[in-house]
Symmetry: C2
Subunit: 477 residues, 2 copies
């Protein structure tokens, strides 16, 4: 067990905070509910952002930027939207030394202001589809903040699209859910269950909300991202219309979709262990660290030279590498430093390694050590990084599968959940009231109706009615 | 003269607005003083951002993120800082449905909150230098907004560093001024004069402010970026200290530096002409557009095929290219579409070109056309883009030099400035009061004391006193 890190089996919430502090990912800010994202934590976010941004561009989207301030009246136009967001709004009432005539809301999300602009930009079917994305900060007042997971201000991207038909907008909604799913699997090495939210969990203003649900190390669920089919709800209140091919005025059909810095929290909790962070190579700011050891040995200068050369070779071949040549620090201190930070591969090089023409590769994923020939160390390291990336997804998938249970009845569920936290896949025909009751009694919620259904029919675990639908329930962040 | 674009010689301000509208760079927002950055404008900013970000990382900086909200009391701690920023602040007084105990300011800049965090993170000389950067939105209430140049909200980067000594902090301040200068020359193709600001123009809270001043198409100056040596001003009020090698507690010496989306405005005005935008290839979202022509010809299918192949080859070789295969639009309409948007190279391909094994390259920089062999079109286009990049800097430099004047006396200056707007390089030994008077009578300001001084001595153009210092004066955005 690493120093200063609580055993996750004893107190998962404290373990999470400890990892964030020791790996220098974030710090609390002097403003309630806000956090400071420190360089190492921000570098993880940057790598995720770059990966996602390339995916958005490949699927035809371009970035734009809309104001952080939204006239309060805009938020009030869509009935569900205002009901959902009002309690969380931060409001600017004074600016430039005067009281404002109309207060401005700090954006909690941008559907309203973007629709206002869309209504100016969209005239005919030729302007459609309009496929925009925005990387921005948003604010939702948070009374029980938790670093990365729930903070008053967070960073995110919000895609906003307008289409001529419901079919196209629904296709887009599912396409972006697919992009998120693929990103989580291939880049973040986190398996997710894509599914539809129930009415109770739907985005305020959407017709349908889709989600990707990931499992954290304590068996809880985390909503990794959402993609909404908005129908014509916002188009109607902002008059976002177009002339179709028959010169008829029609409302646009819209989607919006987003992921946020909470994904950093997901990475911490999906992969971290009792020694701190474990990072998938694709989003590791440092993929490999070279640590020269045996610095008291007379051959130390040669070791240092070889270590420098190795680090340079790795860098030249595109590996994000650090040489830890800090003086007056023991190898053990350095090992721990990079272990807590989740660096996938540590390359130890000492006088005896150098003599034997080898380097010792220690893998963060399982602590294993292998000796690799110094001459082929770059290729070998790159191969290790690739296999680690795959293995982390496989391990996480096995973890999730092992903690996915069934429940025949609500009693059964209530009894087992506290002892065996995880995903419960149940036959589902319940109502919003049923969901409220479940949450009240178990703190669990319906995470989603998975897109992939088993087929066949069964009895709803709460109503007893026959149904062909299953849902996934879990406690969630 | 392009349709819908005012002659810049007749009304430069309207020309600027016309270009922004016709090239779809930005739009006004439904919030006073704010703008929406449209996809094409944002793509220019993204290219600048990526280029700058790489430069910051090469010089040892890492990105982090600090909250958008700053406790009002923080702003009040540094006397000059509060005086400078108070009139421009936007203030959140209500959040989460309640009145806040302490109002929160939407950050106008982040020196205060970053110093608060630095004081937690910095303990000893081993933690120094601390070299951070943040990409963020900031808000400064603006009564006379102008797209990109002066908007209530804008996007920028703010570098914040802490050092053990004044010497190191001053070195950093100048290093980053150098990074900005090099970026402006090599990437934005805009020549700048690096220099020091007078006391009157100094950043609120800095010991010394350095600037890079660029010349716009109407002879006015534009401050492209600033780099400040903050001394220990913020360190003292936030108690940002470290233990030095002798175990003595010392205040850190700091720098901060920033550039913003106003650089998009600088690009428009430094390079634009009567037909719209002209973009340097390095920051052009579309570097080359392929336009098939002669679509009524029986050979149209072959032309389209060749145009597609050319576009694909260019893309594969790293050129940002578009194929304009839109139907029912005349070549002339398309030419104008890309001309207004400043695309450096237009490649026209028609049946006769195809027969002759050639493609016509039309350059936005001067409207010239050259025929290049289709077989070597990719190499030729890449070579053209490189030469255009260099030529745009050369042209802009010649433009600036031709509009840089001298003035022997204030009368001389007052008489010539209205007729010959430009940079006036004068001997300078004036005071802040002199500067105020100059501004009142001519609207011009001291842009900077250039780092590069001519040597020798002369008589101050306003006080008549002998001095070895020259200054650059101009009207400015």
């Amino acid at each position: 067990m690493a120093k200063n890190i609580t055993d996750p089996g004893k107190d998962y919430a404290r373990w999470y905070q400890d990892v964030i502090r020791e790996a220098e990912l974030a710090d609390s800010a002097p403003v309630r509910g806000c956090m400071v994202i420190r360089p190492y934590g921000f570098a993880i976010w940057e790598l995720m952002k770059d990966d996602l941004d390339a995916r958005f561009k490949e699927t035809g989207h371009t970035n734009a930027y809309f104001p952080v301030f939204i006239p309060q009246s805009f938020i009030h136009r869509e009935a569900q939207h205002v009901e959902g967001f009002s309690p969380e709004l931060a409001v600017v009432t004074h600016a430039g030394g005067r009281q404002l005539e109309e207060p401005l809301v700090v954006r909690p999300t941008s559907e309203t202001i973007i629709n206002h602009m869309f209504s100016k930009w969209i005239g005919s079917y030729r302007d459609l589809p309009m496929l925009l994305n925005q990387w921005a900060n948003v604010v939702r007042w948070e009374l029980r903040p938790r670093a990365f997971l729930r903070t008053t201000e967070f960073l995110w991207q919000e895609g906003h699209t307008a289409h001529a038909t419901e079919e196209e907008a629904r296709e887009e909604t599912m396409r972006m859910l697919g992009v998120y799913t693929d990103f989580m699997h291939r880049t973040a090495a986190i398996p997710v269950i894509p599914g539809r939210k129930t009415d109770r969990e739907r985005f305020a203003g959407a017709v349908d909300t889709y989600t990707i649900e990931a499992m954290m190390g304590n068996g809880w669920a985390l909503q990794g991202g959402t993609s909404h089919y908005l129908g014509t709800n916002f188009a109607k209140v902002f008059d976002t219309t177009f002339l179709d091919r028959n010169n008829q005025r029609q409302y646009v059909h819209q989607s919006s979709w987003g992921v946020s810095t909470r994904l950093v929290g997901a990475v911490i909790m999906a992969h971290g262990d009792e020694n701190g962070l474990r990072l998938p190579p694709k989003i590791a700011p440092v993929q490999a660290v070279v640590v020269p050891v045996g610095m008291q040995d007379p051959r130390a200068p040669e070791v240092m030279e070889a270590a420098q050369a190795l680090a340079e070779d790795l860098k030249a071949r595109g590996v994000r590498v650090r040489l830890d040549d800090r003086e007056n620090m023991s190898p053990g201190f350095k090992f721990n430093h990079w272990e807590v930070r989740g660096v996938p591969v540590r390359l130890e090089l000492g006088p005896r390694d150098l003599e034997a023409g080898q380097v010792t590769a220690a893998l963060r994923i399982d602590g294993s050590k292998t000796r690799i020939p110094l001459s082929g160390a770059v290729d070998e390291t790159k191969a290790l990084l690739e296999s680690i990336q795959e293995r982390m997804l496989r391990d996480a998938r096995e973890f999730q599968e092992a903690r996915t249970y069934e429940a025949d009845s609500f009693d059964d569920f209530m009894e087992r959940l506290p002892e065996r936290p995880g995903f419960y896949r149940v036959w589902w025909d319940g109502s919003s009231d049923d969901e409220a009751r479940i949450q009240e009694q178990t703190s669990a919620t319906v995470r989603c109706i998975p897109l992939k259904q088993p087929g066949g029919r069964g009895k709803c675990f709460i109503t007893g009615r026959a149904t062909s639908t299953t849902a996934v329930l879990a406690r969630a962040y």
